[in-house]
């Protein structure tokens, strides 16, 4: 049976690798999408930050003519002094204010502008620095220094695993989501094309009149869709790795520098095992729905709600910590996401992996048997 299934598999793969458009959408697009997003957003964010730092702001200062404050502000922010009506940022000290007395300082700014937000933050920092200078002056009158008031030092110790500290938690948040989405997206195109697409093209009936068993045909198609799903997901993963090492945007987008992150061999093996079982699952589900549908359009309408559920699961679990609720490792897709989270954070257990793989393979086998049953019944043709 496997030999016959491989005939179908090889033909589909050959066709895929000769079709540039499908090849692009299956492998190249997932590979490029994350680096493009990272480069694009990193570049935009970088240029916005640079623009905010280099701009000259119209600032009005009322109620305080202390040159110390003006010097601190000039050192922090390029600005021109204007009247309050034409100011981007207004700094208002109360009437009768004199350096050293308690007062409310009102900083007015437009929060809809990122540049103004940046300038306002700088102004707030300048006010704090000014307050420190004034406090130092007051303490000097009593022969004290600000350092004399500093009696406690806080030392923070991060007890998280090394993997988490070097960015594993960031990967645990992002990677499972993207991998699951692209696993499903990859399955969708290939799965519908090879089932309902064949029906639309009228070639399925001819495919069934030969010496190969219909079960072999069903398995050949599932194997092919699984391969496409895996390649699509791996291309996404590779794209993410490329993004991590990009000089532009990586730190802006992800926070910690992920270049120091090293995944251990057993964790990588767990991710691969999870990925393979999930690919087989999504491929079987999509192939089944494609077999039920009469046309690719109808097939899409069956698969899309499921795709939305997968996205929803991906989004809702994105910010969740790894779970100890064992039952979740029996729920397809949810188990995949949590298993990968654990693997990236160096917390994965063999028990969870076994549950995930067994659960995914069980559901995949169930769907594959249903596909096989459909192929062996007349129902597969009633819609041709």
């Amino acid at each position: 049976m496997l030999k016959d299934a491989l005939i179908i598999f090889r033909k589909e793969v050959k066709n895929l690798f000769k079709d540039r458009r499908t090849l692009f959408s299956t492998f190249i697009l997932p590979l490029l999408v994350l680096p493009i997003i990272f480069i694009g957003m990193g570049t935009v964010l970088g240029s916005m930050e640079k623009d905010a730092q280099e701009s000259t702001y119209a600032i009005s200062i009322t109620g305080n003519r202390d040159p110390v404050f003006s010097e601190l502000l000039s050192a922090s922010l390029s600005h021109t002094a204007v009247d309050p009506q034409s100011a981007e940022i207004s700094i208002a000290f109360p009437v009768g204010y004199a350096p050293g007395i308690s007062a409310n300082v009102v900083v007015s700014f437009d929060s809809s502008s990122r540049k103004n937000q940046f300038a306002a933050q700088q102004v707030v920092q300048v006010v704090k620095d000014y307050e420190s200078v004034l406090a130092q002056d007051l303490l000097s009158l009593y022969g004290l220094d600000r350092q004399d008031l500093h009696t406690l030092d806080i030392v923070m110790v991060d007890v998280a695993s090394e993997a988490t500290q070097t960015g594993g938690s960031v990967l645990a948040m992002l990677v499972p989501y993207f991998l699951v989405i692209f696993l499903f997206a990859g399955s969708m195109n290939a799965g519908l094309d090879t089932t309902s697409g064949e029906k639309e093209r009228g070639s399925l009936a001819v495919l069934l009149v030969n010496q190969v068993s219909r079960t072999s045909i069903a398995w050949g198609k599932i194997l092919y869709v699984s391969l496409v799903a895996i390649c699509s997901a791996l291309a996404t993963f590779l794209g993410l790795l490329i993004s991590m090492y990009l000089p532009v945007g990586s730190s802006a987008m992800m926070g910690p520098d992920l270049r120091a992150f090293v995944i251990e061999g057993h964790a990588l093996a767990m991710i691969v095992a999870t990925l393979l079982s999930t690919a087989l699952l999504t491929a079987s589900v999509v192939t089944l729905l494609g077999c039920i549908a009469r046309t690719m359009k109808e097939g899409s309408s069956y698969v899309m709600p499921l795709y939305m559920v997968v996205i929803l699961v991906g989004v809702t679990t994105m910010y969740m910590d790894p779970t100890q609720r064992v039952v979740l490792f029996l729920v397809p897709i949810v188990n995949t996401i949590f298993m990968m989270k654990e693997s990236f954070m160096g917390m994965a257990t063999v028990g969870h992996l076994v549950m995930t793989v067994v659960s995914n393979l069980s559901f995949a086998t169930l769907c594959a048997l249903m596909v096989s049953r459909l192929f062996n019944s007349e129902k597969i043709l009633q819609t041709v």
Binding site: I7, K18, R201, G202, A205, V206, V209, N210, E378, Q382
Partner: protein, 248 residues
């Protein structure tokens, strides 16, 4: 030879049941073209798919070269070449690659596949485009590849479901020439069509199918003479009116 004996077919869903074939019988002999004629929805495709082992009879029997299609499905499939007009070959594989694929599906030896591809390439004049991706071929060229696929394993029985639908004039000629050639080679050809003039040109014997019932069956000339009709079109309308079935 194909023998269809009192064949019925009913499609059942959870909500309803529809009888598509109501007990039809006919025989298609070797070295002749048998045409199954009738309007869309008459049951032609269902009949041909049943002969091709794609559907199972609800009752009755179908024998292909003496073998029951239910009991000997795989052996029957090796003896038949099946082609449907609905099939639109496409994709980036070349005609040669498609033929190799279908040869493998029929469990043919590699050397024999290559020998048959060479022969069919000559017979159907396909050498020029056999290594061109199918997506880049004209409809006539694609039809030749489809024909070659159905003939690759040298079937004795050829089943064509609406072989000329959606084809241009040149492609229709390719199919017609092929059918005549298969008949001369002693093969049993069964085709379905709703184009009555086409049937008159190609078929030795016909069966007119209407709403799952075979209204008449026999050699074209004999059937026309028996009913006093000048052509198949007139015969068809006469028979339908005799059934007191309103035409719409």
């Amino acid at each position: 030879m194909i023998q269809v004996q009192d064949l019925t077919k009913t499609f059942t869903t959870r909500k309803s049941s529809k009888q598509v074939l109501g007990g039809i019988s006919f025989t298609a002999n070797d070295g002749e073209v048998f045409g199954l004629l009738g309007p869309n929805g008459a049951g032609k495709t269902t009949t041909l798919r049943t002969i091709a082992t794609l559907l199972q009879p609800t009752s009755g029997r179908v024998l292909v070269d003496g073998m029951d299609i239910v009991a000997h499905g795989r052996a029957v499939r090796y003896r038949i070449g099946f082609l449907t007009g609905e099939m639109k070959l496409t994709g980036q594989l070349t005609g040669r690659e498609m033929l190799e694929f279908f040869g493998n599906l029929d469990h043919m030896e590699t050397a024999r596949i290559q020998q048959r591809i060479g022969q069919l390439s000559l017979d159907l004049d396909m050498e020029r485009f056999l290594d061109t991706p199918i997506a880049k071929l004209s409809s006539g060229m694609t039809q030749k590849v489809s024909l070659a696929i159905s003939l690759l394993h040298e079937p004795h029985v050829i089943i064509f479901d609406e072989p000329t639908s959606n084809l241009d004039v040149l492609a229709v000629k390719i199919v017609s020439d092929f059918i005549r050639s298969a008949k001369e080679d002693g093969k049993c050809v069964v085709l379905s069509t709703h184009i009555l003039s086409e049937a008159e040109r190609l078929c030795d014997r016909i069966g007119i199918l209407y709403e799952g019932r075979l209204l008449c069956e026999g050699p074209v000339d004999a059937v026309l003479e028996e009913h006093g009709a000048r052509d198949l079109e007139q015969l068809f309308f006469q028979l339908v009116q005799q059934q007191k079935v309103p035409l719409c």
